[in-house]
């Protein structure tokens, strides 16, 4: 039997027709799937690094805003409850700082006992309204050590939590 006659009479050979092309198409589909997965990975990585930068900028902007609020409260009248609502911008992020008095110890007239004025600061992205709990970036409690005449001798950070 010659080669030609074997191929010509084989039903298996007829069934195999086009098989190579189908395999190639299958291979192309597989490669496409791998390429799509890689593209998704690249997009995700780029997005992640940009998000990390934004978070960093936001955190340091909030940090600066709280420090700025501390300096303002430091020279404010201790008899007045602080309201803050300070707005500032740093690293292209607008931040609002609200504050409230915590437990306070009044100084003695002879300064034997220094006043301990504690203020809680919260910083959040500035939306024009008071900070909501869910939006708080930094929450800090600061102690202002004061003399009887109101002069702050030193500030102490009692707690400083970065939430988001």
């Amino acid at each position: 039997m010659t080669r030609w006659s074997r191929r010509g009479t084989s039903t298996a050979s007829d069934a195999d027709r086009g098989a190579a092309l189908l395999l190639a198409i299958g291979f192309v589909l597989l490669v496409s799937a791998i390429a799509a997965a890689l593209a998704a990975l690249i997009t995700s990585s780029t997005s992640n690094s940009i998000t990390l930068e934004k978070i960093r900028n936001r955190q340091y902007a909030a940090d600066a805003a709280v420090h700025d609020a501390i300096t303002k409260i430091r020279i404010s009248d201790r008899a007045t409850a602080p309201t803050c609502g300070y707005q500032s911008e740093l690293n292209n992020v607008e931040i609002r700082v609200d504050c409230a008095n915590a437990v306070t110890v009044l100084p003695s007239a002879d300064n034997q006992v220094l006043g301990q004025r504690n203020v809680i600061f919260v910083a959040c992205p500035d939306t024009g309204a008071a900070c909501l709990n869910a939006d708080v970036i930094i929450r800090a409690q600061v102690n202002f050590e004061q003399r009887f005449d109101g002069e702050v001798t030193r500030t102490y950070i009692q707690s400083w939590s970065v939430n988001r």
Binding site: W4, S5, R7, G8, S13, D14, R17, G18, A20, L21, L23, A24, I25, F27, V28, V31, S32, I34, A35, L38, A39, L41, I42, S45, T46, N48, S49, L52, E53, R56, N57, Y60, A61, D63, A64, H67, D68, I70, T71, K72, R74, I75, L90, N91, V152, R154, T155, Y156
Partner: protein, 127 residues
């Protein structure tokens, strides 16, 4: 062709198939290598940015730490060694402790070996 045996026509189609298959697979493999190359470059870029971010944060913390013991009017010194290949700059270069009722904005610039400079402003104050 009319009168040509069926087997001979099958032989020609198989050859065409094989050639097309080789071409298609070659294109696919080329695309795959290109995608892998892009992914590798992207991963390196992402890793560089992440490392750069950590260097920027380290320097920012070094600045704030240096100012934590400030006395108004005196200088504070930032102690920071950038990783190999990185360059770091702080503006103002000589830190003068701010008055107690002001914050001082310090600009940090970090340039990694790849050259994408990152900038960050941080605030320091006298405690």
């Amino acid at each position: 062709m009319p009168g040509e045996p069926q087997a001979r026509r099958d032989l020609g189609e198989s050859l065409n198939e094989v050639i097309i298959t080789i071409v298609v697979i070659s294109l696919a493999v080329t695309a795959l290598f290109a995608a892998l190359s892009t992914a590798t470059a992207s991963a390196k870029s992402h890793a560089d940015r992440a490392k750069n971010d950590s260097v920027v944060r380290d320097l920012a913390e070094a600045v704030q730490s240096a100012a934590a013991t400030c006395v108004p009017g005196e200088n504070y010194t930032v102690e920071f060694t950038a990783p190999a290949g990185y360059s770091a700059a702080v503006t103002p270069s000589v830190g003068v402790c701010p008055p107690v009722d002001q914050v001082q904005i310090v600009t940090i610039e970090v340039t990694p070996p790849a050259g994408n400079t990152q900038e960050l402003d941080v605030a320091v104050r006298t405690p």
